[in-house]
Assembly symmetry: C2
Homo-oligomer: 328 residues x 2
C-alpha cells in the first residue's frame, strides 16, 4: 500500500513515525511518500534553512530533539553565540551547531546548481530515512504574513519565520501570501505520488501555513481532487485549541474558527470540490462528529494526542483503514 | 610613527603582538597597518575561509588558541563532526564552531557584494583590533602548488591548503603559482600604507607562501622599492630550520636553502632592486651576520624565538629603531 502525506513540521513528523510503524515502510522499500512544505524556508546567515523538511528528516531519522520540538538532539549553540558576538542579524532565530551542518551541506549543493529535491534526497540518505521525502517544489516559494506595521500602521508583509519566531504570532495576521507559488512547479515525483497513492493523508499540520502552501503550487490541488485514493485528514485542533503551535492565530486570519469542525469545513468535502473524504478528530471533539458528517465527510473520533508512539500508530492505522474503505 | 607590515599567519601575528606593544598602537588610533596574505584563502563547504587574516585577527583580538596555533580558543568541532556525518568533502580541513561563525559572517557579506577589505574591517571591529588589517587584494588570488601527481606521475596543481594541510607539505613542490595575481589589484589602502610608512617590516613569515603572494600583486613590490621607509625583515629561519611551519619544503622548491642568510639573499638588498635594508636574525645565526652584511643588508642578531611576549616586543622595538635609522 502506497501512502502519500502532505506534511508540515513536527506534528506531521510525529504522525509519520506512527505511519512508518503502521505501514512497515523502510528506507530500501519506502511505502510512504512525504510531500514537505517549504514555504517556511528562509535563508539566514547565507544558509538555506528548511525547517519543515528537517523536522521530518530529524524525527524519522532519529536525530530530533524530542523535548524542544525542533532541531537536533544533543545540540549546542556555539556558532550562534559567535554570530551574536559579531552582531549578525537577525538575532531572533535559533540555529544549533549540528543543524548548521545540515544547512551548510544543503546550501553548498543548492549553490552548485542542484535542485532542492535532489539535495533533500542526498541529506536523507545519511539518515536512512524510512520514507521518501520530497519538497513540494524546487522553486523558491516563501510564506509571507501581512500585518499592520506597528510603527507606521500601514500593512506590511514579513517572512513567516519573522512573524512566527520573532513575534510569536502575537501580531495580528491579516493575510498569508505564498510568494512565488503562482509560477512554481511541483517537484519531480510530487504529482506521481498523489496520482499513484492508495491513500492520501493530511496529518495534523497547520492548515494555513503548512498545508495551504503545498496546495498553492499549481497542479497539486487538482491532482488531489482527481486522485483515485481517498483523502483522510487528522485534525490539528483538539478541544478548540491547536495541539501545538499557534494555528489559532493563523486560522483567525482566514476567518476559520479554531475547532476541528471548522477546519473540516474549511478543507471541505471532496465530492463538492473540497479535499476531505474523511476526518479523524480527537475524542475531545466527538460531539462535533455529527456536524462534520453532515458536511459529507466521514468522521472518526479517537485519541489523537501523540503522547506516545503507539497513539500515532493507532491514528495512522485508522487513517489507512478508512482510506482503503473509501478508495474510489 | 606609522609601521606597515606584510603578514602571513601565526608567526606574523605573534610578532605583531610585540609590535603593538612597542608602538602603543590602539584600535582608535592604529599606528600599525597590516597587509595580510590572502593566497591561502579557500572556499570550503560554501564558506570563504581566510586563514592568515583570521590568525592575525584572532591573535591580536585575544581570541586565538595559543597552543594549537590556529583557530579560536575554547573551540569545539561539532559542525565539522556533523559535516563528516554527511560525508561532506574535504575531510582533511579543520574548522571549529566559533571559527565557522566568522566564515559565515564573511561569506554572507562577500556574497552580498561587499569587498573583502570592507568585510575584514567589519570583522575586526568586533575584536577592537589594535591595528589596521587590510587584505593584500580584494580580488581572488589563490596559491596553488605544482606537484607530481602520485597516481599519474604528471605535474598537477593543487590548492595550497590541500598541499599544506592534507599532504603536510610532504609531497615535493615543483613550483608555487599565485593564481589570479596577474590581474589582481592591491586592496584600497595597501599602496598608501606602503608609501606613507615610516618603517616597513617583513615579520618572520614564510617567504614563499606568505610574503611572495603579497608581492605578486602588481604594484606592491614597486611601491616597496620606491618607499621612503626602510624595510626591515625578521628571519623566519633559525638554526637552519623554520621556527614553525614547513617553510623548508617551500624554500627548496625555489632553490633557496633553509638558512637565514639564504633567505636574506633571496629577498636581496634594496639598493640593488631587492627588498631588504636590514635583516634581524636569531642569536643562533649570529655567525651568518658577516655574509649577510656583505650582501649590503644591515644585520642584527638577537633572540627571535617568541617564547614570551617580551621577546616579540624586543624584536619589534629593534626593527623600529633600525628602520628609523635607515629611513631614506
Amino acid at each position: 500500500m502506497q501512502v502519500t502525506v502532505l506534511a508540515g513540521g513536527i506534528g506531521a513528523a510525529r504522525f509519520l513515525r506512527g505511519l512508518v510503524s503502521a505501514t512497515g515502510s523502510t528506507h530500501d522499500k519506502p511505502s510512504v511518500t512525504v510531500i514537505g512544505n517549504t514555504g517556511d524556508d528562509i535563508r539566514l546567515f547565507g544558509l538555506q534553512i528548511c525547517p519543515d523538511l528537517d523536522s521530518v528528516m530529524y524525527t524519522l531519522g532519529g536525530g530530533a530533539d524530542e523535548e524542544r520540538g525542533w532541531g537536533r538532539a544533543n545540540e549546542s549553540f556555539t556558532v550562534l553565540e559567535e554570530l551574536r558576538g559579531y552582531g549578525a542579524k537577525p538575532d531572533w532565530f535559533g540555529l544549533g551547531d549540528r543543524d548548521i551542518a545540515t544547512h551548510l551541506v544543503r546550501t553548498q549543493a543548492l549553490d552548485a546548481g542542484y535542485r532542492l529535491s535532489t539535495v533533500t534526497a542526498g541529506l536523507c540518505e545519511r539518515w536512512q530515512l524510512p520514507v521518501s521525502l520530497i519538497p513540494m517544489t524546487d522553486d523558491r516559494v516563501e510564506t509571507h504574513v501581512v500585518i499592520d506595521d506597528p510603527d507606521t500602521g500601514q500593512p506590511a508583509a514579513i517572512h513567516f519565520q519573522e512573524w512566527w519566531v520573532r513575534h510569536r504570532a502575537a501580531v495580528a495576521a491579516r493575510e498569508f501570501v505564498y510568494v512565488g507559488s503562482d509560477t512554481a512547479s511541483p517537484a519531480p515525483g510530487v504529482l506521481e505520488a498523489i496520482t499513484t497513492a492508495d491513500v492520501i493523508v493530511l496529518p495534523p499540520s497547520n492548515p494555513v501555513v503548512s498545508i495551504a502552501p503545498i496546495l498553492s503550487i499549481p497542479g497539486i490541488r487538482d491532482a488531489i481532487s482527481q486522485a483515485a485514493a481517498a483523502v483522510v485528514g487528522v485534525s490539528p485542533i483538539v478541544g478548540g485549541k491547536p495541539v501545538r503551535g499557534m494555528a489559532d492565530a493563523c486560522l483567525s486570519a482566514i476567518d476559520v474558527d479554531t475547532t476541528s469542525a471548522a477546519v473540516a469545513q474549511h478543507y471541505g468535502p471532496r465530492p463538492e470540490g473540497g479535499l476531505l473524504d474523511a476526518w479523524i478528530v480527537d475524542l475531545a471533539d466527538a460531539d462535533a462528529a455529527p456536524a462534520i458528517a453532515d458536511l459529507g465527510i466521514r468522521v472518526e473520533a479517537m485519541d489523537t494526542i501523540f503522547s506516545n508512539p503507539g497513539v500515532a500508530s493507532n491514528v495512522a492505522a485508522s487513517a489507512l483503514k478508512i482510506g482503503s474503505e473509501l478508495r474510489r
